[in-house]
């Protein structure tokens, strides 16, 4: 069993390689598509440049070589995680991006936990009280949060909870001037985290609620439920011990699929709340026309999606041993 799982993981990693390669090529093509190359950018920074200087710059960056050669060199650099230099931040892109990964992960993990946890709970409540006011209310809530743009939810929450009520800070990840350490700092970050995490999780909450409701309803019609009922088990016991466990499977799959869109959502939420993660970095690089940096973030987020999908697949085989590893 263990070796089967290991070969499964290994094969999945091998399958991810061509996808990564394709994403790298797309990245490169976009870089070529952009008006102006690195030499233009540098020359622009310097204010003026002679054609000789431009030619020299192009030669230094290898921009005078054929596109195919440039592509191979680019792939070689990306393979060792070298995404070039961010001219705005005067730092290597890799360093910058890894620096900002932490806050984004905090935000995403919190969001997934809230969305899957509360979403499943609401879904179960809706399914148990099918066609009652509770079910309708939860369904309407899901529909509305499905249709609401994230940035607007964020702004409205700021308006209500920060401006009017003053309960939570409007932006940032911590009160930097306070120099908190230890648990104080954790508490401070958690305090700042509430609104962004709530904003980002609303949409997914709705998604998991609907999914869980449908999944519960489907499972309730299964033969094993009839058997359990025939054994004389109570409804509550059947719902929570039998149906719930099986109904969770599609929710787990969906959590993996949604990570990709979650990253997109975090760009918006981080921008609205000034959360110092990858999304905000992407927003900043957008305005500075720092394409190197934007490409680095794009690539890293694609890698993140691949990794999470792999983890979800492994988790899935553990939750449901019937799934063939082959």
């Amino acid at each position: 069993m263990l070796t089967a799982r290991l070969t499964f993981i290994l094969r999945r990693i091998l399958q991810a390689i061509p996808i990564l390669l394709a994403i790298m090529i797309i990245n490169f093509l976009l870089l070529k598509l952009a008006p102006g190359d690195a030499a233009d950018v540098l020359a622009g920074e310097a204010g003026s440049a002679t054609p000789e200087y431009m030619a020299e710059l192009r030669e230094r960056f290898g921009l005078d070589q054929p596109v195919a050669v440039q592509l191979v060199k680019y792939l070689g650099r990306v393979a060792v995680l070298d995404f070039g230099f961010s001219f705005r931040h005067e730092m290597p892109v890799t360093e910058l991006v890894l620096d900002r990964l932490g806050p984004t992960l905090i935000l995403m993990v919190t969001t997934i936990t809230i969305a899957v946890g509360v979403g499943s709970l609401l879904g179960v409540l809706a399914a148990v009280g099918l066609n009652t006011w509770r079910d309708s209310f939860i369904s309407v809530l899901a529909l509305v949060s499905y249709a609401t743009p994230l940035f607007w939810v964020g702004l409205m929450l700021i308006l209500l909870f920060s401006v009017r009520l003053g309960w939570f800070p409007t932006s940032g990840m911590e009160t930097i001037s306070a120099f908190h350490t230890g648990w104080d700092r954790v508490w401070d970050i958690a305090h700042h985290l509430v609104l962004p995490a709530l904003t980002l999780s609303l949409f997914y909450l709705a998604l998991y609620t609907r999914l869980m409701r449908a999944s519960m309803l489907e499972q309730q019609g299964m033969d094993y439920v009839t058997t359990a009922r025939a054994k004389g088990l109570t409804d509550r016991w059947i719902t929570f011990r039998h149906v719930l466990r099986n109904a969770l499977l599609p929710v787990v799959t969906m959590a993996g699929v949604q990570v990709s869109s979650l990253i997109g959502g975090s760009v918006i939420v981080e921008t609205v709340f000034g959360w110092p993660g990858l999304g905000q970095l992407a927003f900043e690089s957008l305005f500075a026309r720092d394409l190197n940096l934007l490409m680095g973030i794009f690539f890293l987020s694609a890698v993140l999606v691949l990794v999470v999908n792999l983890v979800v697949d492994i988790l899935y085989t553990m939750l449901d041993p019937r799934i063939e590893l082959s």
Partner: protein
Amino acid sequence: MTHTAPITPDRNTPNPEPTAIARIVSFWKLFMRNRSAVVGLVILVCVISLAILAPLIYPTDPFRMVGRPMSPPLDGYLFGTDTLGRDIMAGIAHGARTSLMIGLIATIVALGIGGLIGGLAGYYGGWIDEILMRVTEVFQTIPSFIFAILLVAVLTPSIENIIIAIAVVSWPALARLVRGEVMSMRNREFVQANVVMGMADWRILLLQVLPNCLSPIIVAASLLVATAILIESGLAFLGLGDPNVMSWGFQVGAGRSVLRQAWWICTFPGIAIMLTVLAINLVGEGLNDALNPRLREREQ
């Protein structure tokens, strides 16, 4: 019950074809039974009318200053004015045009790409399917919103490029759907008969297979319009909208910095986005129920 089709229709003896009008009437009756879908349709019709009438109601450029900056709602202007004294309601009316147009055209482009790739993959199978599905998988792995941002940033923000970006990130799901539908049709007798008749592949695909798997595609496309509007508003909010065109996302983004002093600037355009997207989603679900009546009964 309005539909009286037998549960197991006999495929060999053709049923008397209901006329197009009869079919539309029965579809309409099914659709009208769904109350939330009707509500959605009413809202959507209002938004569409607003978009059509915008140049008549607000003939001046929505970017033009008309009043005192940041005057509150109902103080001369229904929803107030923004930081530069632009009428917010005029912006919403003109923004409706932008949102609906981008949503619709991006969906049509995505349908074109997704339909072509999914259709080819499903119809031919084999290595063509293998390659096309690998490509689709790559595009599905890429975080779509960041990809859209990147595309617009690289191509420079304009209506055309925003449409391209939204279509490029939206087609994979449609391709998968079309592929599945075409695959299930591929070996049906009427398709085989066309092959034997020597009909060209593209004609079979376009004239025989596609019309038979239209309903799930219509439903998916209608929901895609809603998603496209959300993506567009997100891009515009981040400052990646076409600078010459008024849009709801731009309005919210522009009012962000004065949220504390002037809540109305961000609030009303946001409500417009929400209502429109909600309406399209409701109509999409209504279409789904009306086009697949059996599915609906199973769910209940």
